[in-house]
Structure formats: C-alpha cells, structure tokens
Symmetry: C2
Subunit: 354 residues, 2 copies
Amino acid sequence: MKSWKIFRKFPETNLYPMKKVTIKDLAKALNLSISTISRALNDKYDINPETQAKVLAMAEEMGYSPNPIAQKLQNKKSKNIGVVVPEFRNAFFPDIISGIQDIVQPLGYQVLITQSNENSETELLNVKSLYENMVDGLIISFSSGTTDLKYYQQLVEQEFPMVQVNRVLEEINTSKVLFDDYSWAFMATEHLILQGYKNIFHLKGPKHIVVTKERLRGFEGAMKKHQLPMDPTQIIDSGVTIEDGKKAMQKLLEQGQKPDAIFAVNDPVALGAIEVLKANNIKIPNDVGVVGFSESRLSEVVQPKLTTVRQPTFEMGQAAAKLLLQEIESSISVPQTVKFSGNFKIKESSVKLI
Amino acid sequence: MKSWKIFRKFPETNLYPMKKVTIKDLAKALNLSISTISRALNDKYDINPETQAKVLAMAEEMGYSPNPIAQKLQNKKSKNIGVVVPEFRNAFFPDIISGIQDIVQPLGYQVLITQSNENSETELLNVKSLYENMVDGLIISFSSGTTDLKYYQQLVEQEFPMVQVNRVLEEINTSKVLFDDYSWAFMATEHLILQGYKNIFHLKGPKHIVVTKERLRGFEGAMKKHQLPMDPTQIIDSGVTIEDGKKAMQKLLEQGQKPDAIFAVNDPVALGAIEVLKANNIKIPNDVGVVGFSESRLSEVVQPKLTTVRQPTFEMGQAAAKLLLQEIESSISVPQTVKFSGNFKIKESSVKLI
DNA sequence: CTGAAAGCGCTAACAC
DNA sequence: GTGTTAGCGCTTTCAG
C-alpha cells in the first residue's frame, strides 16, 4: 500500500517534501506553544503582533499549510461546497457549475462536483459522501428518477444548507433556482402559432421532471389561448436526447400524423426530429416548423438553425451559489425561489420562407 | 453561522437526526470499549464473532455511519480520488469522467471532480485542495497554459499516485493515458489526399498542448508521404472552439487563400470553418473537403455530416482509473503510457459527390 | 479476545 | 499575551 505515510526525506535539502509541516513543527522551531501558533495563524485578537509576525514568517519559510482535514474535524466547517448534477453531457449543467464557481471561488470556497449519471442510487451516494465529508452546503439538481427522498428530507429538517437548481423536487423545502419554463414554453408555442402553424405537436420530456411538466403546460396554455384544437395525440412522449427525438418523430410519421410544427422539450430532441424530417424530405420550416429549448450548444450548428429558448445557465448557477452562501453564513434563512427568464432566439427553423 | 453543530433533537423519535452517532455512542450502548467497537466495525481478526455481530446489529439500529473526516485524519487514506479537468463544455472530458466513475465506484471510491476553466491558477488551487483533502490519488488533464510545474513535480517526487490523461505534460513523470493523435491525424489527412484533395490546410490548436503538436505532426507526415507540396501558410493557428474555427477560416479566405480541404484540430474548429465556408457559398465537400477530430457530439448534427476521428473517451477514462488504482494499491509502480486507437467516421464532408 | 491510552493536526476554553 | 489541556472521531499499539 502506497500511502500518505510515505515521506522520504531528501538529504540535500533536509526537508520533508511538501506539507508535512504542522503547527507543532512551527511551535518547536520558534519555541512557542502550539496554541500561540494557532492564534497567530488565525489572526486572533489576543496575540502579540510581534510574535505573530515571527510565526507567519516561519510558517512561510517552512512551507507550512494547514491540514484541512484536521480543521474540519475540529470546526465542522470545510469551506467546501458540494454540487450534485444528474449529467454533464449537455452544456447545461457545466454552465451552471461555471456560474457557481464564479461566485464561490473568490470567497475561498472550493467546489466539489459530483455526477450521478441520472442514477438515483449514485446520486444518493454522492450526496452522502459530500455530506459526510462535511461540505458546508449542497447545490443539487436531481436525477429524473429520484423518488426516495428520505435522506434529503432529513438533511432539510436538520437545516443543512441546500439549494436546488432546475431539476427541482417540490416536496423538498429548500431554496430553489428555476427557469420560468411555463412562460417561455408558452411563448415558444405562441411564436409558432403566430407564424401560421396550426397543427402543432409537442415532443415531451420525461414525466416526473417538473421542468417537463411546465413546458407541457406552457404548450397547452398557448394552444388554448389561441383556441387551436388540441388532441392528446399531439403530445408525444419523448425524452431528452437526440435519439429520443428521432424515435418520437419516426413514430409520429409512421402513424401517419401530419404535424405542421414541432415544439420540442429541448434542443437535442428537436435536433433528432429535424434529422428525421430531413431524411423524409420534409422541408423545414416550410412544411414543418421546429422550435427547441436550449440545453446545449447544438442549436447553432444544425441546419436550418434552430429557433430556441435560451436559458441563462451561468446566471442561474450564480444565483444558486449566492443563495447557498447566504444560507451557510446566516443563521436565519427562509427558503426562497428564484425564477429566471430567458430569451427567445428566432432562427430559420420556424420562420416560413416566402 | 448555521453550522454542523446544530442538531435538534426530535422529541417524537427521541433520535438525533442523521449521523450524530459515533463509535463512542455504540460503546456506551453496548457497554464495550471504543476499541472493541472499532475492531468489530473494521472486521479485525482479533474480535469475537459474537461481539462483532452485536456491534454490527447495534450500529445498524442506531444508524451509525463512520465519520470519514476522522478516518482520514487517522489513516491518511480517503477512498476518494480527485479528478482535475480543464473544461467540460465539450463532451470529451465528461465522457472521460464517466469512464473513471465506471471503474472506481464499484470499488467503493468516490470521485471528486474539479474544473479549472483552462486557468492554471484555478487548476493549482484545485489540485492543492484535493491533495490536502487527502484524496488517494489524482487523475489530471492539464490546462493549455500550465507552465509552472513545481507543485506537480513535488507530488511526483513524493510518489503521490497520479495519472495524466490526454492533456499530458511530458516533463511530469507519471502514467499517461493518451490517444494516438499522430497516427489518426495522419490517417485523417491521408483520407483527404486519397479523396483527391491536394491543397490541404491544417487548422491548428493551441501551441503548447501535446495533442495539438501530435495532430500537426500527423498532418505533416501524411503530406510528406504523398509528396504534396507543403508551405507554412497551410498551417493556420487556430484554437479549440467554434469561434476559433470561424476566425481562422475567415482570415484564410480574406487572405485569398484557396484550400481545397481542411483538416481541423477538432470538431468545433471544423464546424466553425464549415459555417464560414457555407456563408461564402463554398460547397462542401465538392469545393472544399473537411475533416475534424472528435471532441464533442457536434459532428453528427452539422450539415453536411462531418468526417471525424472518434476517440474512445469512456475507455480512456477507464484506463486512467485502472492505472491510478494500481498505483494506489501497490507499492511498486512504474509509470506506464497507454496509447489508444480510435476509429474513423467517414461522412459527407470529405467525400466528393459525383 | 478486550480495554486503556496515545495520537492524527488542529482549535478553544481555562489558567496564569 | 502565552501555555496547558481537552477533545473532534477514529485507529492502533500495548497490556492483560
């Protein structure tokens, strides 16, 4: 077993490589007690400035750096925050994470990222591990299939700082950062309607995800507002990947359905649909208009360019981080919900050419 | 300051929520010494099976789970492994991470992921934090600009388990997991040549990255083999993003250059080039052929579909994890280099239509 | 087979 | 101002 315990002494320098230097070593070197060292290092009020200067100098010289493990054991605080996301194959969560880091790093917090592959068990393991490793708080976005909330509920009861982003579970009472999926799905659908499309189909995402439900609701709302006939067959179960989009579109065509527009739950699904449409020689946007919902950077690349709702992922990450820090650093904290707006990128896929 | 110290007692259950239960509590409950408890929990040889059974049962009942922080402080082992990547906006590193998790999780290791945004300072912070938090080993892929290797060299000297993937630094003597960029760049270029393209340009990546150099070398090798004239102006400095590709292509056209094919350092750059070509009404593949190098899932989406080299990212992650575990769990370990092969996806962008 | 005691590196009363 | 001491939760000698 090669382990941390191996520290070879280098005769040339007579130094142990890297941080073997502890507070004790400093104490010995300066003929002071370890508590004095600790006080100096932590800039306590009851330390003689001169002593402190000496200690700091020596610490520098000997390359001292504190052992965060020992500090955690003592303080029950780590200056680490944990992040749990279901996937990062799309740009969505990576961007959120960047936003989190942007806020948190300047304040000296370290971000530990964990990915659950849309698997609830892995997710639970990740959360437990993060928690037991004493992160000061958690930013979490749940996997699509998570139903066993016991552990999470316990964390909440215990007032463990936590905020949910995007893949939110209503039942868990923490601060939440959301995108206003309803309104923007409404708008996206309305855009199609205003462009003259009438027989609009929605390729729907996984059932239990709130985001999915909201986008569906937005779709239905817009259809209703404009009194377009709507039939359950216009809502197609799909998923979140290009593959899912392909399958859904394929099935739709095989069943002889004739949509004149598609509102997809997200961009990858929209792209899958586009691919199938193109393969079947159906022209976009003239035969069929398509609108997506950004979760990736794909919309810019596909031809025709995809009309889509852009979400401020980076800012959502920032918001989540701010809420979490607030909760970590203050004793009272009421769960808040922040809902973000996006913007609508109208491109070729939904504007008929004359 | 809300902190870990807050544990409210729930009168209904008379239980402290979650793991407040320590080895001590178990000892008290069973009237045994803490060392006996520890032995039982750790399945030591010198424990009475019956005692052990009792302890285990009680641990279960009281919902005991060990405090990993305390264990680390004692053992200097954490069953955590740290991962440092420069970015995860492309699918490349996420896929590698999935591969790592695939190997490591079944063995009870937890993966701590860290992202440096191509920033060497953040990278160093991440590594330090991971190291000080006593991960058992590190899988690292360096940022493009990293030049200060002191800290990393120290880690190596200290025989801290470490393996490099993809963004490798020659000077750092650890196991390495690589893709055979040279051969596949060679092959990609040769493919263009065999398709009849002659005036082939290479959109090159960032200078100091080995991967970039290897792909350039492959390009040059193939050109030389087929005795195609090659001029320094055929090698264009670019970057790694779509934007970089656009700029490079734009500049190239503005300078009046007339390539009949492009070999791009990666897919995003290829896509950028394609976009500019299309905008200038240059037909792909007939006027200009394009080949990329997969680092994303974009190649499937663009039109025309992009010929590209696919890298076995998941497997590379697995390999890195295996090497690292080997190093962690055995005392002797000679740095090894594993070089992966990929496969070549020939699509529309490089096959002239007749 | 089990218990007592030391110690991992650090912080925080409590003395002086 | 500084030193002494205890203790965070755990593992590991060392006795018995």
